[in-house]
């Protein structure tokens, strides 16, 4: 299902890691200026290789989890699981929206037990959160950031709920999640 190949172009001394999945491929090159030969400083080079691979892994980990969930939806067991997830999500989302409608503190909103439970559901719940945002902009941004590790909201858009929503929806589209 998955393959990762680390190649070294010895003429240019450039490392490339190609990760292949059923539906996409990530090809990443080592940072510019990384031109140490294996004989000169092998320990440093190995350390850089490890760090670089870890970096790529972190980047694709989250998207992988969402896509795995999507794959799962195609099976009967997966559909049942997805229905349960969706039902649990809706229960908590409705309770959260009802309980925090008079709350001013973002900290209090995100510390609500239902909000924390939704974060705890992990990456499979991201498409549901995005759907909720599409329906009605609400304070789901902290949950999305906590689950995905991303924050696509630019400095100039902070606090503008409409624009924050649009930034997240654009980010999801770019990641082929929406």
């Amino acid at each position: 299902m998955e393959s990762a190949v680390l190649e070294n172009d010895f003429r240019k001394d450039v490392w490339t890691r190609t990760t292949t999945r059923p539906d996409y491929t990530v090809k990443a090159q080592a940072p510019a200026g990384w031109r140490l030969t294996a004989y000169e400083r092998p320990h440093l080079k190995n350390q850089l290789i490890r760090r670089h691979i870890r970096g790529i892994s972190a980047e694709i980990y989250f998207i992988d989890r969402i896509r795995s969930a999507r794959e799962l939806l195609r099976t009967a067991a997966g559909k049942k699981q997805a229905e349960e997830l969706s039902r649990e999500f809706q229960t908590h989302a409705t309770k959260w929206q009802s309980d925090v409608r008079f709350i001013s503190s973002v900290a209090d909103m995100v510390l609500h037990p239902s909000y924390l439970r939704i974060i705890g559901m992990g990456p499979p719940v991201v498409p549901l959160l995005l759907k909720e945002l599409q329906k009605e902009p609400a304070h789901w941004f902290q949950a999305l950031e906590a689950i995905t590790g991303h924050n696509p909201v630019e400095e100039t858009d902070r606090g503008r709920v409409g624009r924050m929503t649009q930034r997240w929806l654009d980010w999801a589209k770019a990641q082929h999640i929406s």
Partner: protein, 112 residues
């Protein structure tokens, strides 16, 4: 004000102030708008006032005094209400009001 202010990531908080949920941080930010701590809740001519509510030491809500002496609060994202006193909102949701701040009402520039 079309922005949601709060000291957490993704929300607006003025540059140069930490993302700390402390009363000192809120008072410092209000200070940039000319607000200074005071002790009285009563209407004072020439001043406008705000109060900060805290629960377990953390700011939860703010209310602003209107020219008629009543107070106005935004509950959540879309509910604007008026109340007679800051005490009216004390309770489980917002905790208690802890700090009163005031600033001179900006006077319009004289017409030359």
């Amino acid at each position: 004000m079309d922005r949601f202010w709060w000291p957490v990531s993704q929300y607006y908080w003025p540059p140069g102030f930490p993302l700390d949920l402390t009363i000192e941080n809120f008072v410092a930010v209000f200070g940039t708008f000319g607000y200074q701590p005071c002790i009285s809740l009563t209407l004072e001519e020439g001043f406008e006032k705000v109060v900060i509510y805290i629960r377990q030491g953390k700011p939860t809500h703010m209310a602003r005094q209107l020219a008629n002496g009543q107070w106005t609060s935004k509950l959540g994202s879309s509910w604007d209400i008026e109340h007679k006193s800051p005490l009216g909102l004390e309770g489980q949701e917002y905790g208690n009001f802890s700090t009163v701040l005031r600033r001179p009402i900006p006077q319009p520039a004289p017409v030359p």
